[in-house]
């Protein structure tokens, strides 16, 4: 049932303010199943907040968000939000690995304790995921012993272990040095090619151009312009988009 719903993510006229500061003022967009959407824009445009709204970490004031069969804005109890988060995984800028667990344990924890799956199976899957992100030799390392890029790849494997429908990436390369950015981006690229639905907040314009099906440019809590990357990067319609792109490209 879940699989037949398309678009898989539907954001409609979302408004959100923190106190008197309006963070999102009427944001709407869709993501098709298997789609890759990159959200770009200046700092403070509400990009990260938007992602947090999609997995229910931040409740919205107005509008609707639907992810697969979940009406996110209507989820009240923790149990309902937990059901949603089993389908929507998030990767953070600062990796946020659990420092007291090894890399492999980080990947295994949620499937065992949240999804209550068989530890043996989870272990096999976790080992496979670690290999997939190119870290088969680092399984028993603690996060503190890994480089930023390695930690971020563990974080991606950790999210994937939940077998989510949708992956959210919140500026996942922003804290990395230029050389390690590539290894993380390659991991995401592979995911996208396998048909994972991805929503990325990113400052990597080349990456967005190469990978995204759609690029959304936001500023001041609004979507200024959204289009396929070739169109948005090469022929932006809005002045604000042109100004932004001329700064970053």
């Amino acid at each position: 049932m879940t699989d037949s719903i398309d678009p898989i993510v539907e954001v409609r006229d979302v408004h959100l303010s923190f106190g008197t500061t309006e963070v999102l003022s009427g944001v709407s967009f869709d993501v098709r199943k298997g789609g890759v959407v990159c959200i770009i824009g200046p700092s403070g445009a509400g990009k990260s907040t938007l992602l947090r709204c999609i997995n229910g970490l931040v409740p919205i004031n107005q509008g609707t968000i639907r992810v697969a069969r979940f009406q996110v804005n209507a989820l009240k109890t923790d149990a309902e939000k937990i059901a949603l988060r089993k389908e929507v995984s998030m990767v953070f800028q600062q990796y946020n690995l659990f420092p007291h667990k090894t890399a492999l344990e980080n990947v295994m924890m949620a499937p065992i304790h949240v999804l209550r799956e068989d530890p043996k199976e989870v272990r096999e899957r976790a080992v496979a995921l670690m290999a997939k992100v190119g870290l088969q030799t680092k399984q028993d390392a603690y996060p503190g012993e890994l480089s930023g890029g390695q930690q971020q790849r563990v974080a991606i494997a950790r999210s994937l272990a939940m077998r989510p429908e949708v992956m959210l990436f919140d500026e996942v390369t922003a804290a990395l040095d230029p050389e390690t950015v590539k290894e993380v981006l390659n991991a995401i690229k592979e995911l996208a090619r396998e048909g994972m639905t991805c929503i990325l907040v990113t400052h990597e314009m080349r990456f967005a151009r190469e990978l995204a099906h759609e690029v959304i440019f936001t500023d001041g809590g609004k979507i200024v312009e959204s289009a396929p990357p070739a169109e948005l990067f090469d022929h932006p319609k809005q002045e604000r988009t042109k100004a932004f792109l001329s700064q970053v490209l």
Partner: protein
């Protein structure tokens, strides 16, 4: 180039918690030697020497000391377990739970330990009858409970502080992996707190051990009580200083290694955070 250097802030005023140091041991030992000397000077012919008297009573005092340790272990165990829940309750999402826990913690943290001890001694009956069976509650049990209460409150504060020192991003990561709050707390947050809680917890244990002598006031047969008994049996006022400094040395010998170990742990975890 000066501007690029970190600003040299004056060191904060010494606010380090009070710690046992070697010098304290030296002072105590000195006190003991002086006490023995004074007592020896008052020995009348025919009386045994001071050191002989102390040696004679040592087994009795040691037995009392074991009681002090037993009380400290049990009170620490009970207090720690209760304190964990009280500390965790303070970050509850339910305001009444949070408020109640806050009130409980502050009441027991700020009440004098001796007052709590008296409360437990006199409010808990000396025996209870359940299903026709009479179970006596010995005094030392009540004293242990009385000491466990302030321990609980102090552990709760340590736990609360440690939980709040973990970055909120850890909570965020846990919830986006669909952990519920309780799982996140006990599986992700608290295990990370253990390291930082260990030093203050050990400090608290040393304080508790020293406080177990309070139980002598309510008549528990611990070391202090035994010392008083020995002194009245000997009926030689000259022995007072020698005996009490002897007791202090025992406590110092037990608590000093704990204090040193705590300092070492603190130094270790201060660097690797």
């Amino acid at each position: 180039m000066n501007v690029l250097l970190p600003i040299n802030l004056p060191k904060p005023a010494a606010s380090a918690p009070w710690r046992l140091e070697v010098s304290h041991g030296v002072i105590l030992a000195g006190l003991f030697v002086v006490g023995c000397g004074l007592a020896q000077a008052q020995v009348v012919p025919g009386q045994p020497s001071v050191l002989d008297t102390i040696a004679k009573w040592t087994p009795v005092l040691a037995k009392g000391f074991v009681f002090n340790l037993a009380i400290s272990f049990v009170a620490m165990t009970i207090g720690t377990m209760a304190g964990f829940f009280l500390g965790a309750a303070q970050i509850s999402l339910l305001a009444p739970v949070r408020g109640g826990a806050w009130l409980t913690m502050n009441f027991f943290r700020n009440a004098p330990w001796l007052v709590l001890l008296f409360y437990c001694m006199f409010l808990i009956p000396f025996q209870v009858t359940i299903f026709g069976k009479t179970i006596p509650i010995p005094d030392w049990t009540k004293a242990t409970l009385g000491l466990a209460l302030p321990v609980m409150a102090n552990v709760a504060e340590v736990v609360r502080g440690a939980i709040q020192s973990i970055p909120t991003t850890q909570w965020e990561a846990a919830s986006s992996l669909a952990f519920n709050r309780r799982q996140a707390l006990w599986m992700i947050i608290i295990p990370q707190c253990i390291k930082r809680m260990l030093p203050p917890w050990m400090n608290l244990y040393a304080i508790l051990t020293m406080s177990t002598v309070l139980a002598s006031i309510v008549g528990v047969d611990e070391m202090m009580t035994q010392t008083q008994r020995a002194l009245s049996a000997e009926a030689r006022p000259g022995l007072l200083l020698a005996f009490y400094s002897y007791v202090l040395l025992w406590f110092f010998a037990y608590c000093y290694p704990i204090a040193r170990w705590t300092v070492r742990l603190e130094a270790r975890y201060a660097v690797r955070q």
